[in-house]
Amino acid sequence: MSGATAPRVAVVVFPGSNCDEDAARAARNVLQADVKMVRHDERALGDPDLVILPGGFAYGDYLRSGAMARFSPVMESVAAFAGQGGAVLGICNGFQILCEAGLLPGAMLRNAGLRFVCRDVFLRVESKRTPFTLAINKGDVLRMPVAHGEGNWTAERRVYEEMVARDQIVFRYVRSDGSRGEGANPNGSLDDVAGICNVKGNVVGLMPHPERACDELLGGTDGARLFKSFATTRMAMYGT
């Protein structure tokens, strides 16, 4: 990609974000992106193609994970960007923030096992309708790490059924062979949900960390497939 066509990626930095540099690095290495780090108290996102809300413990996870971050000035800009159809990816704490902000449905509970879970998991791609999965096959199994204490996503039954009907479940936890069942779900989330999208499909949140699985040196590159898919989607939309 030449400099002129490099995607612009905004990585939001909250007080307590700790995967912001990993996200920026993944965007630079996989997307050859022009990355802008945007502070929580800024409003200008810099006309990005993609906004990433990274993992961490924004505002110390006080009250509830994501509850305080939601009121940061930058979130008004993120909500406006998402409302215009802009691509937003929330990873781990970023996913929690998107739920608290109402940009994604549902909410997070403590992990069912009550422990902070830090290990590799397997995800099955359940929907191709997001920019991050458009170039991945439905049913493909991706391996990447999780690291969270509050990733037990849940929603009211009626809301969940609507989401399923609208194809808003993007990733589910599975075993290495792609089947659901015992041992696959690290946190007890409803119906093994690992990642979801909004109705339009432009806002995606997931608990696992794709940005930590973008380099063979770090144990795998399956996470890079999400970013590559985004690049493919962007090419298809805007041409080269």
Partner: protein, 89 residues
């Protein structure tokens, strides 16, 4: 006035924390404990003498920030003015 906002997970929403506490109580010998739900209590000082206004302010704060309506219910109470001020300290 002092507004108390009590936040609890909705009935039916899994409470892993409450379950762990119940298990611990069982291990301590409290065999009669059949269920524990863990919640949060916020004690908010509001500069007003109007109970209605204080209550309304508490409800608004609960709806916007203190509780997450997807998973939690809240209850707003006023702390009785004649309660011994130092009782809880």
């Amino acid at each position: 006035m002092t507004v108390l906002v009590k936040v609890m997970l909705k009935p039916g929403v899994l409470d892993p924390q409450g379950k762990a506490i119940a298990d611990a109580l069982h291990r301590l010998g409290y065999g009669s404990v059949s269920d524990v739900r863990a919640g949060k209590l916020f004690r908010v000082e509001v500069d007003t003498d109007d109970p209605k206004a204080a209550r309304e302010a508490g409800a608004q704060m609960a709806g916007k920030l203190l509780a997450n309506p997807v998973i939690e219910d809240y209850e707003v109470l006023l702390e009785a003015a004649d309660a011994p001020a130092g009782a809880a300290r």
